[in-house]
């Protein structure tokens, strides 16, 4: 009744090809954007920014990046944590080497550097597939963390091996360092997320995305119909690395401010982002958002309910959280292997017929 495309006529190819062909979807998208840009910055405080919004925005970018590689191109990667570390350390080196350049460009450049590293570690994907590729990317994870711990040049020879984000400004408003306002960091990350999502969405529904999906579905068939597997896989690794690098840079510079590579970018991070796209939905941009929101919000909600409202001991709640997250992953894999995105698609299908299904 409310959700249908009847009467929504398309008179040009452009309007027929748009991302949100249904009017109500499109409106919802613009409302969400307007809300995120015009309302949230005025009401956000430090707690909301640092506990919920920043991690959500940053993990969404990482999930989009990994989704391109795993969900669209079918190349399993367990190296996300390591690639985020590349973004973070690239951003740190750039920030300290060229303090006069705007942080905005540093973040983009960090994405570029990570894309390059990601392509390098993606080379084995030309020869190996599936589990074997997962192991090769796992090696990247361990190697990169080891490298950033081992070579003091990466952390500017600081005694502790930590990297600390110095204060940098955009339009003379600080976005990194301790004296930031919640709305400034939030908006900075939001701009990157919106741009990343736009680029990723248009890449995945364009020629590049179709090539990736062809490789994912059956690489030999794809090769026969004229998809160059090397180009397709390398572009997937590159695009994926670009977004993951951006998220790593933001994660370090805006969210944590000080990072120790083994702790912040360990194997756990790789799994976390992988869980996000599995729960959210492989091969879906919306799924990346949904999965990130789910895994960022769930611990916070459990903590608020368990500790603040019910007054349970903190360790019980922390243990319960592990149990619940684990249980949910199993449950999702059994009941809805295509994740939250598929649930959303099914809901939309039902809504189109509601309240008069056949």
């Amino acid at each position: 009744m409310f959700y249908r495309e009847a009467g929504d006529f398309k008179t040009s190819y452009a309007s027929d090809n748009q991302t949100f062909p249904i009017k109500i979807d499109r409106r919802g998208y613009y409302v969400a954007l307007a809300f995120a840009f015009c309302v949230v910055p005025f009401v956000i405080n430090d707690y909301w920014a640092n506990a919920i919004f920043l991690p959500f925005l940053i993990y969404s970018i990482a999930a989009i990046g990994l989704n391109i590689l795993v969900g669209y191109c079918g190349q399993v990667s367990l190296g996300t944590g390591g690639f985020m570390a590349v973004g973070a350390y690239a951003c740190y080196k750039l920030m300290t080497a060229f303090p006069e350049v705007n942080i905005f460009f540093h973040v983009i450049l960090s994405g570029g550097i990570t894309a390059f590293v990601c392509v390098l570690f993606g080379l084995p994907s030309l020869r190996i597939k599936g589990f074997y590729l997962a192991v090769a990317t796992l090696a990247a994870q361990f190697f990169l963390v080891w490298l950033f711990n081992r070579v003091p040049w990466f952390y500017n020879y600081s005694a502790s091996g930590q990297i600390n984000a110095p204060e940098r400004t955009v339009f003379s408003i600080p976005v990194t360092g301790p004296n930031t306002e919640a709305w400034a960091t939030y908006l900075f990350c939001l701009v990157f997320l919106v741009l990343s999502a736009l680029i990723a969405r248009n890449m995945t529904r364009g020629m590049a995305g179709r090539k990736w999906m062809a490789i994912r579905d059956m690489d030999i068939a794809a090769e026969i119909i004229g998809v160059n597997p090397m180009k397709a896989k390398m572009t997937a690794f590159g695009a994926s690395g670009f977004f993951i690098g951006i998220s790593g840079a933001l994660f370090f510079a805006l969210y944590l401010g000080a990072v120790e590579v083994g702790e912040a970018f360990g194997i756990n991070k790789s799994f976390l982002v992988l869980f996000m796209i599995i729960i959210g939905g492989l091969g879906s941009i919306f799924g990346s958002f949904a999965g990130a929101a789910f895994l960022v919000l769930l611990p916070v909600v459990l903590k608020v309910v368990g500790v603040d409202m019910l007054g349970w001991p903190t360790d019980i709640v922390a243990h319960l959280q592990l149990v619940i997250v684990g249980g949910l992953i199993v449950l999702f894999l059994i009941l809805e292997p295509h994740g939250l995105a598929q649930l959303w698609r099914v809901t939309k299908q039902k809504l189109r017929l509601w309240p008069f299904p056949h």
């Binding site: 502790s160 091996g161 110095p166 969210y255 120790e260 083994g262």
Partner: protein, 427 residues
Amino acid sequence: MKMKLATMAVTAVMAAAPAMADLVFPSLSYRTGPYAAGGIPFADGYADYFTLLNERDGGIGGVPTRLLECETGYNTEKGVECYESTKGEGALVYQPLSTGITYQLIPKTTADGIPMHTMGYGRTSAANGKVFSHTFNYPGTYWNGASGAVNYLLAENGGDLNGHKIALVYHNSAYGKEPIRTLEELQKKHGFELSLLPVDHPGQEQKSQWLQIRREKPDTVLMWGWGVMNQVAIQEAANIRFPMENFIGIWWSGAEHDVLSAGDKANGYKALTFHNVGRDFPIFADIQKYVVDTGKAAGAGDQIGNVLYNRGMYAAMLAAEAAKTAQEIHGTADITAAQMRDGMEALEITEEKMAGLGMPNFGPSFSVSCENHGGPGLVGVTQWDAANQTWSLISEFAETDMEVIGALIAEDSGSYASENNIAERCN
């Protein structure tokens, strides 16, 4: 009847009072994960001391305390979330018990004007109060620990360490890397040989490190470990029959749970400390009476008197004394975080004060000043007796090499100040 009404009114006011004014002490604890074995006793000691103050004295200066516990799991992301969610409640002082979280919170707490006390951990150069206005690490730092260990070895070896081989087994993180710079300086000064053996988080896999120790046969092994890493290291040392009396851990590597799993083989293992160990203090009678017997003990209540329990209690005691000092300075019982900071900077711990609190000779006497946030840095050595299952202090709390440490602190804090454009205070 009137009397009854009056008492009811008074009790009602008393009951309502805590909601209006209380002193909030957040406890960023970790009772889960690979570091929980150390996190639990510390958190219990920290919580029990504040419970004791509430039950026995009605709080600090008549204002009850409120402990806000938040689970970090030794994880920096959760640490940030905990910090943000508790700072709005009027938190007076943060004690994150994690060097990683400390590094993150140093700029944040400074910007928010909340003091942070990192007792025997965190960023050592924060001892320079001229640069770090809101960070305190009295009564001792890692660099004191490193120098204390070397001084102890000097005393053991007749003042000469030339050709002495020392291996440092350390947690490969900001925490474990802290002492390296100091040890390298001391190496130049005393002529011992230093080899570095990093152990990656969480530290369960140490076969190769101990194989190397077996091959190189160092005279002494120093350890900067935490959590599960300690138990594994001591077990591995026992496996290669490394003489335990030549194995010295930092104060985070010397608690009951670290040595118990290795059984008798751990006998003679040594660890540094900056406070006293054991249950032989009058305060434990009060804790039994007001906290344990009333059923208000934190956690399972089975950690009382352990090394790390004592340390948590000591941390809480220093925080409470700083709050008292702040109340005296500012003439108000309901202090703010800014006033708490002044109290910490003017804190003076004397032997009489500790004796009055039921903790005679529990830690060193010291006073904090605007320039020195690091305290005197006195280091003692404890040794494990596996037969009696007790730690005992085997040396006096001794001075450390402040000449070397002072220069390093000035250098490191100076670079922090120039990176972050901080003007020196206290001038």
